[in-house]
């Protein structure tokens, strides 16, 4: 557990004991969910490095559910990165962000969703606050991020045989079966076999998303696309 006067990273139960007023105020705004992970950043504090939830021990199965509440107080700034795509996500996840007036939050979620997964992503940006959410998922179709207030959402999803990129209302798609015959041929004349050529094109398609990710996550995302195409 990291706890300073500036930021609190703890389990929700502990937060409820130690910061009841803060938790109450947050829940009034975002609604009640049984939360598991809690992050609060104090008024005006800018976190320099992205924060992630505590890692599960290697090889341990995912919990049935995962709940996260993030509160950025007035004028605070933080980046939050959750999830991974090399192992299956919990069947039920909820991440709720409350950005108080003037706060800046950038949230990155990467999930490998089992079929039937329920994944709630909600953000409330109060006056003058802004929430950016990068949402990447493999597997089951992913429900959208619900954002109230100022901000932006960029989603990359990969399910069935189709990749999708959504920015605001605009959605573009790529079919993995035929990412572009002429482009595939061009790459194959450079020695790439079909799967490698398709992976380069699909990763290129997702590049507007991956270039926003921290490098290690971008590498993981690209590698996962390659694996998915090899399995085809």
């Amino acid at each position: 557990m990291i706890a300073t006067s500036e930021a609190v990273v703890t389990t929700f139960d502990a937060a409820l004991r130690e910061h009841p007023a803060l938790v109450d105020a947050a829940l009034k705004t975002v609604g009640r969910e049984p939360f598991g992970f809690f992050l609060r950043v104090s008024r005006g504090v800018q976190l320099e490095r992205p924060v992630s939830p505590p890692e599960r021990p290697r090889g341990s199965p995912p919990p049935a559910e995962e709940r996260t509440l993030i509160v950025a107080e007035e004028g605070a700034g933080l980046q939050y990165v959750e999830g991974c795509i090399s192992s299956a996500a919990p069947l039920s996840t909820a991440t709720v962000v409350l950005a108080m007036p003037g706060a800046r939050v950038r949230c990155t979620t990467l999930r490998n969703l089992p079929s039937g997964a329920v994944s709630i992503k909600r953000a409330v940006a109060e006056q003058g606050a802004r929430v950016e959410w990068l949402d990447g998922s493999f597997g089951a179709p992913t429900p959208a991020v619900v954002l109230e207030g100022e901000g932006s959402v960029l989603s990359a999803a990969f399910h069935g045989r189709v990749g999708e990129l959504t920015r605001g209302e605009r959605r573009s798609t790529v079919s993995l079966d035929e990412p572009g015959a002429e482009a595939l041929y061009y790459l194959m004349t450079r020695g790439l076999d079909r799967a490698a050529a398709a992976a380069l094109l699909v990763n290129g398609f997702f590049e507007p998303f991956t270039r926003e990710l921290p490098l290690e996550y971008a590498v993981e995302f690209n590698r996962f696309v390659e694996l998915e195409l090899k399995g085809a």
């Binding site: 572009g180 015959a181 002429e182 482009a183 041929y185 061009y186 790459l187 194959m188 004349t189 450079r190 020695g191 790439l192 076999d193 079909r194 490698a196 050529a197 380069l200 094109l201 990763n203 290129g204 398609f205 997702f206 590049e207 507007p208």
Partner: protein, 164 residues
């Protein structure tokens, strides 16, 4: 030994006869004009079908090999108007092409920097995105860079074969 030998090669493009009984041989260092349909046939473009004869490169019959395998064996066709590759950069393109030839590709960045310097190309050229059309100068630079890195033995230009 000839670098490339065509032995009585007949082929169709889009179901129509395009080559009929073409025989020729090209030695290293030689350039030779050829029918323009030959470029696609040599690379095994999906629209082409060889109906008779064979293509022999360095003594090996490559008539039925995949396009990628022909490329890895030394063929490099040039594209006057290459298709756009959104999100792909000069560097990621070249890295993938080299990775297809070399196991455990190391120090790609360093190699690329060296080749850019040799060709007097801008250091930032590796980050050039291939989603918009390249200028003529950029395209020439990109092709020269591909030749430096991929080391082809036979370049196929529109209507000309150049054996290196």
């Amino acid at each position: 030994m000839a670098l490339l030998e065509l032995r009585g090669l007949s082929a169709e493009v889009d179901g129509k006869p395009a080559l009929s009984g073409l025989s020729l041989s090209v030695d290293p260092g030689e350039s030779r004009p050829v029918p323009s349909a030959l470029s696609k046939v040599l690379m095994g473009h999906p629209s082409c079908r060889v109906t008779a004869g064979s293509i022999v490169l360095d003594g090996a019959d490559i008539t039925v090999l995949s396009t990628a395998e022909r490329a890895r064996r030394g063929l490099l066709p040039s594209f006057p108007r290459p298709p756009a590759l959104p999100g792909v950069t000069v560097a990621s393109f070249l890295r993938a092409a080299l990775a297809a030839r070399t196991r455990g590709l190391k120090d790609f960045r360093k190699l690329l920097r060296e080749k850019l310097a040799v060709l007097k190309l801008d250091e930032g050229f590796g980050s050039r995105r291939l989603d918009a059309a390249l200028s003529d100068a950029e395209r020439t630079g990109f092709e020269a860079l591909q030749r430096e890195l991929l080391k082809p033995s036979l370049i196929i230009e529109d209507g000309v074969l150049r054996a290196l």
